[in-house]
Symmetry: C2
Subunit: 125 residues, 2 copies
């Protein structure tokens, strides 16, 4: 992952609705991995189902899904009259890898906090 892609992904994730969508899609669909169990469970989630879960209008959802897709974080696939969205797990992992190894240059302190849950006494904004 390069910097422009990472910036897109960060901007896409810096939004409550889109973060909620990512949460919904994690574990609800793989992109060709060997962990596939059943077609239905691995297909991702239809746009309508997502809209219901996050309680937003169809057009608003489409806007946010488009932002996530532009950033490469989700992929869309049409099945009949529905469009299924699934998380691009590799892109998420790639972003985290980028933050950790490119931006933070593999800094040991960051890695340690990343594994242990971050700052114990972090102040609120």
């Amino acid at each position: 992952m390069d910097q422009p892609q990472a910036l897109d992904a960060l901007a896409a994730l810096a939004n409550e609705t889109r973060l909620q969508i990512v949460r919904l899609l994690v574990g609800r669909g793989h992109d060709g991995g060997c962990l596939r169990h059943s077609e239905a469970e691995d297909a991702g989630l239809a746009a309508g189902a997502i809209a219901q879960e996050v309680s937003i209008s169809a057009s608003r959802l489409s806007f946010h899904l488009n932002a996530l897709e532009q950033a490469g974080l989700v992929a869309a696939e049409r099945r009949g009259r529905q469009v299924f969205y699934r998380l691009e797990h590799r892109a998420m992992g790639g972003l985290i890898h980028y933050l950790l190894n490119d931006c933070c240059q593999g800094n040991a302190e960051v890695s340690a906090c990343c594994q242990q849950g971050g700052a114990p006494q972090m102040r609120r904004a």
Copy 2:
């Protein structure tokens, strides 16, 4: 780290200039760790020095540093007539931890890509 904090941090990082500042500050100052070598090297970077490195005006830099500070990603300390900024390594680590474990619920696929560098054949935006 909770969601509002993570959203602030993501928004702060979703900017080329601020990402560049983070890069500059990584490894240039610890916040009380045991890895301290010398005062001068661990003090962080003065605002003027950062402005020179990233080639932006003083006021613009102040704006961006403020955004990073609000997000808890950097900390400021005045020394004489200069203000030194250093990265909050724990906040960076905490953000990455949040992405990995809260958003992605510790998903194995994401973790694997995160350690190995992400998508091998990721398409460009």
